[in-house]
């Protein structure tokens, strides 16, 4: 090595005690706009997790009441009919006996609650993960949110306009956070 050289040309290590760092952290501080967008998306993720739990219990209560009322109505309708005739009718229509159909409907209501709780857990985990890895966490959150709400819209078209403002704001926040996290990673501030 020559005396004037401050860095090893083979490995890049500093050889002079007063030399600046080999790779100056030009982008070490995340641009405040990107940090702001990611922080905002994280707040939305937490809010959606809480909202999913709350709405899950509300929908559970509503659905349970509706299903029990439906069961009572059907029981009243078939009160005087021979149970085997009722079962034959149900098996032809649904592939289940009368009691199996009741058990199935009640199970679906409980499953709906469990699904909402699982979704809330996923959003919560993504909220935690987004602090360390904002790009993959926000991408997954966007895919999850869009998919669940589009499925809901197809199964129950009346849900399209329910909470439309929250849906739009959350989607926008995620899209902006993805752009910010992607930009931040492209600049090289994140470790790959």
């Amino acid at each position: 090595m020559e005396p004037a050289e401050k860095f090893c040309s083979a490995c890049g290590a500093s050889v002079a005690p007063d030399a600046p760092p080999a790779s100056p952290p030009l982008f070490a501080a995340m641009p405040s706009e990107a940090a702001h967008r990611i922080g905002k998306a994280r707040k939305w993720l937490f809010a959606i997790a809480v909202l999913t739990v709350v709405l899950g219990f509300i929908f559970y209560a509503i659905q349970k009441k509706a299903v029990e009322k439906q069961i009572d109505d059907v029981r009243a309708q078939v009160a005087g009919v021979d149970p085997s005739v009722v079962d034959d009718h149900f098996v032809k229509a649904t592939g289940m006996t009368f009691e199996e159909a009741i058990e199935h409907d009640r199970g679906m209501v409980t499953l709906l609650l469990v699904v909402n709780l699982v979704l809330a857990c996923v959003y919560f985990v993504l909220w935690l993960w987004a602090k360390r890895k904002p790009l993959p966490a926000t991408v997954i959150a966007l895919l999850l949110f869009v998919t669940t709400h589009v499925i809901n819209a197809v199964l129950e078209p009346s849900t399209i306009y329910q909470g439309i403002l929250i849906k739009i704001l959350f989607t926008l926040a995620l899209v902006r956070a993805i752009a910010a996290a992607n930009e931040e990673r492209t600049l090289g501030t994140s470790s790959r």
């Binding site: 860095f7 040309s9 991408v139 869009v146 197809v154």
Partner: protein, 240 residues
């Protein structure tokens, strides 16, 4: 480097064959090409595939002909995947194999048995836990005979889904994410596009496994084989 032999950062003359600038310590290697647009292409492809799945759902709901909807859906899925793959296949072809000995193909086939048993037990467990009496699936395909069932369950989905998730999406995301992040995102996308939240618990690990095979081998074929063996085994379990 701005010009041959000088550092792009401080313009000092570089030593021949130097990996770093001796004056400022900067690497002389050209910066890696990061294709940021690939991330958005992967997201748009997911949205397009979701559109196909929803179209399939609507068609089967309106016509009550699940079989035709399945055929149309499979073709639509393939068309969308190829439409994204062919125009920019060089961008999506990421090969960074680690190690995949030939005898692992045999392990992949054998692994389908415990994995398939686990998935089947989970589905039965959920059904029994919540008192669900709905059929376990594949009735519409089997009603048209074994050949159609094999094509629609064992042959087409592994080919099309692996090309979509482990081919195009994996390659596109790999430009912006690390290997483990890419595996996680593609497995979520794979699980979500099956449009069933309860099955996320089985499909996300499955997607991760198929993605890992693709990463280890640098090829889609081990993942296609694993997917096909899994589907074949589950089909056999359901029908037996």
């Amino acid at each position: 480097m701005t010009e041959a032999g000088t550092c792009s950062s401080c313009a000092a003359v570089l030593k021949p064959g130097a990996a770093f600038c001796a004056a400022c310590g900067r690497s002389t290697a050209p910066p890696p090409v990061k294709r940021t647009g690939s991330l958005y292409l992967a997201i748009w492809m997911y949205v397009a595939l979701l559109g196909v799945q929803l179209f399939l759902m609507i068609v089967s709901k309106v016509t009550e002909d699940v079989f035709t909807a399945e055929v149309v859906g499979t073709v639509g899925f393939a068309v969308v995947t190829l439409a994204f793959y062919f125009p920019c296949r060089e961008r999506f072809t990421v090969r960074e194999p680690v190690a995949f000995p030939r005898y692992w193909y045999l392990l992949v086939v054998l692994a389908a048995v415990p994995i398939g048993l686990g998935v089947h037990a989970y589905v039965r467990g959920v059904s029994s836990l919540f008192g669900l009496h709905a059929p376990l699936g594949f009735e519409d395909e089997l009603a048209h005979g074994w050949i159609w069932a094999s094509v629609l369950i064992v042959v087409m989905p592994p080919l099309v889904e692996e090309l979509a998730f482990r081919g195009v999406m994996f390659g596109a995301l790999r430009h912006s994410l690390t290997v483990s992040e890419t595996l996680i995102v593609t497995s979520f996308a794979f699980g979500l596009l099956h449009l069933s939240i309860p099955s996320l618990l089985t499909h996300i690990p499955l997607g991760f496994y198929f993605g890992w095979l693709r990463h280890r081998s640098g090829s889609l074929w081990p993942a296609v084989l694993a997917h096909a063996c899994h589907n074949a085994f589950v089909l056999a379990l359901v029908t037996v």
